[in-house]
Amino acid sequence: MTETVFYIIAVSLCVFAVLSVTVKDVFHSAVWLALALLSVAGIFLSLDAAFLGVIQVLVYVGGIMTLFIFAIKLTARIGDRSIRQVSQQSVCGGIVSAGIFGVFLIIIYANQWNDMMLPPGQGIGLNGLGKALLTTYALPFEFISVLLLAALVGAIVIGKVKQ
């Protein structure tokens, strides 16, 4: 049954992803992207990675997509229906995507995934994750927060109305 569920979600994910780059209206594109991100969360959930799935929804759908939509709304005339987004570089884009796809295929087939898999229930869990972030990986963690803070301050400075 898990496999059936996986294939249903995977197919809808591909459909949503393709639609999000092919539809003409920016807002529609954002909505398809949101559905694609929700499907990714569904795949995480079906793989028993509940925490990842939940964070995927909270961060990407609840946070990033809302930000996208605000950006579309607040950018002058980009959401205007007379302006269509047209991809003029579909050939280059196609080549790049095919290249990335090839790299993924090589990575997938070059590794023995079965040897790397932990038996279920032996992951580090939420407790372990929290501890690891604040002890072993404290430096990268703090580095990311400083980076985010800098981005935040920068955004405020750029967005500030000149007196």
Binding site: M1, F27, V31, V54, L58, V61, G62, T66, I69, K73
Partner: protein, 323 residues
């Protein structure tokens, strides 16, 4: 292939129960809201259909089912059509982790409270889509206000939930209930502060008075759902009251011991606590006036968020000292 018929049937039964509960609860809440508002304003409220107007919501539902579905001209049909689903489905999905009793839960995810917070945050998107797709400036304004408000109050909300999680040492809903067996969390002073922050932010999250500026009737007609009629409108309405029940039930679980209680069966205690909080929030709604948009945002960012952060720090300090 061995098809798990029994498991599927079990799932279907659980899903049916949740859908039935959502529908009945929303109808009951709508009736209760009309009655409570009437009592507070010294009126009688609905009286004609059934004893004390108890069947008013049933009559309203039949009316909404039969109503014509009007599509506004110039609307972005795809977005307009999809928006109610984005609002209604997450509201139903949040019930997956709602602990009605020690064994009465659809599925006890080990990230329960995080799941509820994240799934309900999807509805922001639906509300904004409704405002955008309607091609109506009042709807768009309402949608914008609502989205801004919900994402602002999400910060203190999650921070206040964090205090409870720190005290309980788990994020599973059942785990949080079990952690309250020695005593409800509301009895601890730091959690009491978290409770106040949670209740205020949650009220703002579901757009209720005094935070109902996104649907302020006197300036925005009805906000993001102005252009919806018939069943589409009903979906928004049911989702709104379901979200209202969800925040009350979550408050009961996080701070008032959930289904814990003597003598009566546990689902009775859970529902009693949840509807008690529902009643309190209705009382607030019909007592207080509406805030201004800028006051509301200032309050979220300059008062609630710093307070919630300090509260998290203090809780951490207490826990470390206790060992």
């Amino acid at each position: 292939m061995n098809f798990p018929v029994q498991e599927l049937l079990k799932l279907a039964a659980k899903g049916g129960f949740v859908l039935g509960f959502v529908a009945v609860s929303a109808m009951f809440l709508i009736w209760l809201e009309r009655k409570v508002s009437a009592w507070i304003q010294n009126r009688k409220g609905p009286m004609m259909t059934g004893p004390q107007g108890a069947f008013q919501s049933v009559a309203d539902t039949v009316k909404l089912l039969l109503k014509e579905n009007i599509v506004p001209s110039g609307a972005d049909f795809f977005i307009w059509w999809l928006a109610p689903f984005f609002v209604a489905i997450p509201a139903v999905m949040a019930f997956v982790c709602m602990p009605f009793g020690p064994h009465h839960i659809v599925y006890d995810l080990n990230v329960g409270i995080l799941y509820i917070c994240s799934i309900t945050s999807v509805s922001v998107l639906g509300i904004f889509m409704a405002g955008w797709g309607s091609n109506n400036k009042y709807s768009l304004l309402g949608g914008m206000r609502s989205a801004a408000q919900i994402i602002s109050y999400e910060v203190p909300l999650l921070l206040s939930v964090l205090v409870v999680v720190m005290e309980a040492g788990t994020v599973s809903m059942q785990g949080i209930v079990h952690a309250q067996e020695p005593g409800w969390f509301i009895l601890k002073p730091n959690v009491m502060v978290a409770f106040l922050i949670y209740l205020i932010s949650a009220t703002a999250e579901v757009n209720r008075v005094p935070f109902d500026i996104p649907e302020a009737e006197s300036e925005l007609v009805a906000g993001y759902h102005t252009e919806y009629s018939g069943m589409k409108f009903a979906m928004f309405f049911v989702a709104e009251y379901t979200n209202f029940f969800i925040i009350s039930a979550t408050t009961a679980t996080l701070f008032f011991g959930g289904w814990l209680g003597p003598w009566a069966p546990s689902p009775v205690w859970f529902l009693l606590k949840a509807y008690g909080i529902v009643f309190f929030l209705m009382w607030v709604r019909w007592t207080l006036p509406r805030l201004r948009m800028d006051q509301m945002m200032t309050f979220a960012w300059k008062v609630l968020t710093p307070l919630a952060l300090v509260n998290v720090l203090v809780t951490g300090w207490f826990l470390v000292r206790k060992g």
